[in-house]
Amino acid sequence: MALFTRLISALRNRANDSAEFIEIEQQLLKSDLGIALSRQIIEKSKAISNQDVTTAIRSVLAGFMLTSNRELSKNSAGLTSYVIVGVNGSGKTTFSAKLANFLITSKVLNANIHMAACDTFRAAAVSQLKTWSERLSLNFISGADNADPAAVAYSAVKDVQSKYGDTSNHFLIVDTAGRLHTNSDLVAELEKILRTINKLTPVNEVLLVIDGSTGQNGLAQAKLFQEKVKVTGLVLTKMDGQGKGGIALAIENELKIPIKFISTGESATDLEPFSVDRYISRLLED
């Protein structure tokens, strides 16, 4: 790594970077924060003179995170709905199950959970969610094979609203098919799902699920989803793996979308509400 440091400092007038900063910069790069953001973080930290390097870096990193509330919003009057979106294989269906489990176990609520299987495209996606719903004893709603996902969403909302008079403690979790942000037809399909639900009950959260080992492409994903469906929160998955999830910081910083959950495994309980502190420790971990 000697050359790397030498050449970068030669090029970018960084002859005065200490070895410690250089090492941290590499760590940030390895955590997928990207070159520009890593550089910014280092520059800001260097400007802090009254703290040791690690403390300085930590506080600068924290400064790049939002200070707003990371709680899920809830419909005060009627049915609350959460729509789960993201690229293929990022962990949407598993997260849908985890989210349900989270709502049930956060005892303050007396939550009734309904799962809507709106991935009508991928093979066995519906039965995958059904299995999770059975495991967690959740109400499971699906449509006909290859049905229009917006139609499934529509009847799911209608179903719940007509069956229960007061739906203020009811949550509808909508699992959608994985789609690449670059596929405009599929993104339009997602917009339609949201429009449809919104006509019946507010969509309280659109949660974008991002694989924690995603590289710089994560930013492109978030930008496009954000532009089309107004994402309200990020979920960072597979954080039990080797990815550090640094791209989420880049997303939160640039698009002002708060990270709301960290997912750390394949079972329903492997979910943590986001903690800035823990996340930063992880980013800096070798």
Binding site: M1, L3, F4, L7, I8, A10, L11, R12, Q26, L29, K30, S31, D32, G34, I35, V87, N88, G89, S90, G91, F121, R122, A123, A124, A125, S127, Q128, K130, T131, W132, L180, H181, T182, N183, D211, S213, T214, G215, Q216, N217, G218, A220, Q221, K238, D240, G241, Q242, G243, K244, G246, I247, E266
Partner: protein, 490 residues
Amino acid sequence: MFESLGQRFTKVFSGLRGQINETELRNIQAEITAALIDSDVSVNVADDFGSAVYRKAVNQLELLKKSINPYASVFEIVNQELIQILGGNQRRMQFAKKPPTIILLMGLQGSGKTSFAGKLALHLKSSGNTPLLVAADLARPNAVDQLKIVGEQVNVPVFAPAAGNGVGNPVLVARDSINFAREKLHNFVIVDTAGRLGIDAALINELILIKKEINPTESFFVLDAMLGQSAADVAQNFHAQVGFDAVVLTKLDGDAKGGAALSVVSKTGKPIIFSAVGEKTSDIEYFYPDRIASRILGKGDIATLAEKTAAAVPQDLTEKLTEKFVSGADFTLTDFLAQLGAMKNMGSISKLMGLIPGMNPKMQQQVSGLDDAELVRTRAIIESMTPAERENPEILNGSRRARIAKGSGRAVSEINRLIDRFSQAQKMMKQMKNNPGKQNLISKNLPGLPNNFPAGLNMNAPQINSNTVANKRKKSRSGNPAKRALEENL
């Protein structure tokens, strides 16, 4: 994907002029390293890459200083490094001496193994094979169902004796599938396994057992093209503990820069064999490292261009030109005219531009003026020539040129320019024939579109028209008839 990295590289080099020295080389090294990291190549691999380029360039600095265009030579060093990382030659699938050929798929959760299994099965089946899919992902809810449905979609049988959702032993399923395939005479077995982390010791152990039990002909590591820095370590974990022969790159239809693929190949030394480019079961492609390398460097991808145009260019024309090339006969203006006719069918030139070698952005801009109108003019000029003149442009003296100018309604200078360009192209074809390894050198000097177009078109893509002469000459084939039949079918 990869194109944006190419643009970055081109940008690094496009601004460079004048004296070359160590500082300049350091700058190039830094810029290249940064471009790689921005494209998700792991920091270590990017660093090694940049250092290697610097080292090789600085070793021949004295030589470079004397050269007319030293930066082109450095660019060539980058090219060589890239080709070396990507593995140079295309990796073809290996086949078992005694069927069935067993293919084991492994990778992280959500990387796309099951979809790829379906695509590979369809691909094999449509080339006359009898694949069997094996449901050995018994962990993820309804993964067995998913494979069953995928099997139905591509009309390939699925071996799924265990229920899944945590019930059943994947090692036993994999083992039994091989016996089943033997009995039922399936010549390929594709084993789909559960996604797992490279650091999950228990699950990695399970994979080791599966591999031991079935002794696969090919083990493929399935990699999501959108992965970031961790890809290198993950792949190394799989490779060191389980071992694989080649990499399958998925989700290439997105806009990922694909650097993870470079890290993985560089770290494990295993080449990319397939890429998956969409959600349809037919969205699978072989991976051609040399094509990708030249696309990254903005050197164009003649082979893909040829594929894109294959439909537009009549087969007999292609064959005729290939034969000429192989036999050493002259490429004449008659051939050129025929090619121009074919080009008319190919649609917008500017769209094809990125695929042509030597097209840096500036040249692209210049040539983008070369619209259909210019093609029409070029045609008019050639059509005003006698057949003898078309076969033997050397006989075109002043008075002949004046006649052609009049006949086509163009200035004599235009005739001269066309003849010049043409004879350059002709010369290059000969050079390429005599020294195929120097293609890079030549393509860098290609003056413009129409002259190099026909030559390159047929030269670089012999593997596409499977019955061309060049193809028969070039490919080495198995001596075992059964195996050869398989190879050819694939």
